[in-house]
């Protein structure tokens, strides 16, 4: 038998459950989200700084994206030098491809933290550019894998 007390308790639980839905994990600050993207691009640029011309093209593109991201970090009050800048060196094909995919995933993960047309447009450019680089690197090293949703946060 459903009592009135039971109904009240159920209503209260429903309201509380509704509130809990709103209490999703807070997104990272714009500064830390952009720093994550910047670190990933710097890592990619370092890993691709030598080798075949197409790989070095990726390095230049990653460096260009890193420059835009560093400016954006400054714009939102962060410090671009907080993102590590790894030294160039010998990197295995598997690691190069992983860094390409990592940069793309970092940009996708950053998106919910970025508000406003300027930052969102920057993020869309980052996603499209890093995605193309990740595909070219994977094809270059024969490590391509079918994925309809590349960059999905793990």
């Amino acid at each position: 038998m459903v009592t009135r007390r039971g109904l009240l308790a159920a209503s209260a639980l429903a309201v509380l459950a509704g509130c809990a839905e709103d209490e999703e994990a807070e997104p990272a600050s714009p500064s830390s989200a952009l720093l994550g993207s910047l670190a990933a691009e710097r890592a990619l640029s370092a890993a691709t700084s030598s080798g075949r011309p197409v790989v070095r093209d990726v390095s230049a593109r990653a460096r260009e994206r890193a420059g835009r991201l560093a400016a954006a970090v400054s714009l939102v009050g962060g410090r671009p030098h907080d993102a590590p800048e790894p030294a160039s060196g010998d990197t295995s094909p598997g690691e190069i491809v992983a860094r390409g995919r990592g940069a793309l995933a970092a940009h996708v993960a950053a998106l919910p933290s970025l508000e406003g047309r300027e930052l969102r447009t920057l993020a869309a450019d980052m996603v499209a550019g890093a995605a193309a680089d990740a595909a070219v690197l994977a094809d270059t090293f024969d490590l391509a894998a079918a994925d309809a949703f590349p960059g999905t946060p793990q």
Binding site: E24, R120, V136, P150
Partner: protein, 188 residues
């Protein structure tokens, strides 16, 4: 029967039968307001419905963008199927997967996508002679990249945003791979 006035003007009394429910009666003091349980329940339900919610807010802003994208995605899938053999293995299936993912978000806000139909860039691919298909596919993917990139600033709900971003990434990859197939700079 005994009763204790509450601060809200409710007067509670124990029902004579043991273990029974509490009931409310009107406070005899003038100016006191009765708040019946029914009103409390209604207020709780109203609060639940009226609560500020990112999902509810997104429901107001994202569906039109999603509808436009799913229409484009369906058109692309249709074009790749009609222009078989597909220039990239599995590309038609990937476009279909994109459409399904976008439909899931649309379903969540109670909207339905229209039936698939070719749009101009997709029709160009579907009707292209064999020697022009690659060029038409490159143009189709470029237009998809452009539309998805333009959608990103307009979206609010984080889950929708990330789905759209990964589909943008997928089209950017198709574009680069098709350009490579055509002997062009993949990043052009």
């Amino acid at each position: 029967m005994t009763g204790d006035p509450t601060p809200e003007g409710l007067v509670a009394r124990r029902d004579p039968a043991p273990g029974r429910r509490l009931v409310a009666r009107r406070d005899p003091a003038p100016g006191r307001r009765l708040v019946a349980r029914r009103e409390i329940l209604l207020a709780a339900a109203g609060a639940a419905l009226a609560r500020p919610s990112a999902a509810v807010a997104a429901a107001d802003q994202d569906p039109e963008v999603l509808l436009r994208l799913v229409t484009r995605e369906d058109a692309a899938a249709l074009a790749y199927r009609e222009a078989a053999p597909e220039p990239l293995p599995g590309v038609a299936a990937e476009e279909a997967d994109h459409g399904k993912a976008l439909r899931t978000h649309l379903d969540a806000v109670g909207r339905r996508a229209p039936a698939p139909a070719l749009d101009a860039p997709a029709r160009r691919l579907a009707e292209a002679p064999q020697d022009e298909r690659l060029e038409a596919a490159i143009a189709l993917e470029a237009s998809l990249v452009e539309d998805y990139a333009a959608a990103v600033p307009a979206l609010t709900e984080p889950g929708v945003l990330q789905t759209v971003a990964t589909i943008l990434a997928s089209h950017a990859q198709h574009h680069a791979r098709l350009r490579t197939l055509a002997g062009l700079d993949p990043f052009g």
